[in-house]
């Protein structure tokens, strides 16, 4: 099997897809040329700096969509400091495994998160 059951589950039934209106931070990663484009939306609690809500919109392969959903699941409820500590390897581990050519999808997910947090910080 090229994809694990866990990857397929997150691809077929993602929980975090969508957009957040008036998001506190918006991040992007990837480019249409490589076929993957991710957007992450954050809602952050002003006092605790915790990620209250997170959503994604992704055009991409199965691995890209599953990685997007997984990073949302992993960082929701974490402080932004804690969220920035999440590495792409953590996403892969949580997904079971990713084929070698698809590892970059998990990297894109961490990049999108970083970009969203930077965007949030800029707005402060």
């Amino acid at each position: 099997m090229i994809y694990s059951k866990k990857v397929l589950k997150h691809f077929l039934h993602p929980k975090f897809f969508g957009k957040i209106k008036n998001a506190d931070g918006i991040g992007k990663a990837g480019n249409p040329l490589c076929g993957d484009l991710m957007e992450l939306y954050l809602k952050i609690d002003k006092k605790t700096k915790k990620i209250k809500d997170i959503k994604f919109q992704t055009t991409g392969c199965c691995a890209a969509i599953a990685s997007s959903d997984m990073i949302c699941e992993v960082v929701k409820g974490k402080t932004i400091k804690g969220a920035l500590k999440v590495k792409f390897e953590d996403i892969i581990k949580k997904l079971g495994k990713l084929p070698p050519v698809k590892v970059h999808c998990s990297i894109l997910a961490t990049q999108a998160l970083k970009s969203a947090i930077e965007n949030y910080k800029k707005k402060l």
Binding site: L33, C34, G35, L37, E39, T59, C61, C62, A64
Partner: protein, 398 residues
């Protein structure tokens, strides 16, 4: 999910039951090595001769002009490398030139690329937005040192049919002039792997010197390819050993697969009556898809394509994601070509047509075959819009 629906016949076909029955004894009881002179060997030899004759009859050539290989890829490698290496040592200032197209299968492009890196001159001919090679453009590229023109008969990703007869005529005329001025002839090769099931493949009419075909695309076994090599065409062997296949492809012949290929090609003609119904089903798939799903791009030219292939781009949904989502619904299709599944590159064929990388990444190929039914197409038409809508929701494409 009741049953899986296979719409990936351009990747490979299931073996025909009769073909299977015909080849089976050559895996067991008739196990002889065709090079052996005893009973078992000769039994295998005779069966192989019969298969060779069947292929020769299908192509309208003599059976001495058929060479078996381990795959169509190997066949393409053999003629591209074999012809070039024949010309390489000629004189130090002769640099062979090969012309091929930008939309060839990797089995042609990659050996050309490798030769190009070794100093052979390679021209990759562009195609128009329908995927067609333009004869006038090709004519301008042929030079004194052009030893080979290699263009596929029908494309595996979009199904476009190349004007092989016209290219054959062009080369005949050019070679007439070349002969008068004592200049090296330009040989003509076509990879006909996708064409065999559907198109006239008589080599005389096509005007080709070399033609490649494969077993597993025509309801025969995998691991077997065949080459038509017109008598007198200089090819240097790439695999040397016991001298089988007239010294062009050493190695004990894959007798059962050869017998299977012969049986499969003999059955192609009897299936020609199905062309119409398959074309009708494909056209229904096209028409309804374009009607029911917004922002779909049809990448297959309707008028000039194989009856069984259609390639679409669905904006806002990535090709592999569509394939996997459809697979979950029991529908088996592919993005561009099956081989491309190993790479992240967008299809070189679609890029050559002028599609953007973005459009190329959203493409899916459906290829119908002998066992495709209307019920199956109806099921696809029901499921496909739902799958596309869902992926577009995830991508935020509206």
């Amino acid at each position: 999910m009741a049953k899986r629906i296979y719409l990936d016949y351009a990747s490979t076909t299931p073996i025909d039951p009769k073909v299977f029955r015909t080849l089976l004894p050559f895996l067991k009881d008739n196990f002889g090595n065709p090079s052996s002179v005893h009973y078992f060997g000769q039994k295998a030899q005779v069966a192989m001769d019969i298969a060779r004759e069947k292929i020769a009859k299908f192509l309208g050539c003599s059976s001495e002009e058929i060479v078996f290989t381990g795959s169509a890829t190997e066949a393409n490698n053999l003629i591209i490398k074999g012809l070039t290496s024949y010309f390489l040592p000629q004189t130090s200032n002769f640099r062979p030139h090969i012309i091929t197209s930008q939309i060839e299968h990797k089995a042609v492009l990659e050996p050309c690329k490798a030769l190009g890196e070794k100093g052979v001159e390679i021209t990759y001919l562009p195609v128009n937005d329908q995927g067609l090679i333009q004869i006038s453009r090709l004519a301008k590229k042929i030079k004194e040192n052009t030893v080979l023109v290699s263009t596929m008969y029908a494309n595996n990703e979009i199904g476009v049919i190349q004007p092989i007869v016209e290219i054959g005529k062009l080369l005949k005329n050019i070679n007439r002039i070349k002969e008068k001025s004592k200049v090296q002839k330009t040989y003509f090769h076509t990879d006909a792997v996708q064409a065999i099931n559907w198109l006239d493949c008589k080599v005389e009419r096509l005007g080709v010197d070399l033609l490649t075909l494969s077993g597993h695309k025509i309801y025969g076994p995998k691991g077997i390819g065949a080459l038509y090599i017109k008598k007198g065409t200089p090819i240097e062997a790439q695999i040397r050993g016991g001298g089988q296949e007239q010294g062009l492809r050493s190695g004990t012949e894959n007798v059962s697969a050869i017998v299977g290929l012969g049986a499969a090609i003999a059955k192609v003609k009897s299936q020609k009556s199905k062309v119409k119904s398959i074309r009708r089903l494909r056209n229904k798939l096209i028409k309804e898809t374009l009607r029911n799903i917004p922002d779909v791009k049809l990448n297959t030219p309707l008028q000039n394509s194989l009856p069984n292939i259609v390639n679409f781009s669905f904006k806002g949904a990535e090709g592999e994601a569509i394939v996997i989502a459809l697979d979950q619904e029991g529908i088996c299709v592919s993005t561009g070509s099956a081989c491309a599944a190993k790479s992240l590159e967008p299809s070189h064929v679609l890029l050559a047509l002028g599609l953007s990388e973005e459009e190329a990444h959203t493409s899916v190929r459906f290829s119908l075959g002998r066992y495709t039914t209307e019920k199956e197409i109806n099921y696809v038409l029901k499921v496909l819009p739902e799958v596309i809508a869902k992926l577009r929701k995830i991508s935020g494409y509206l």
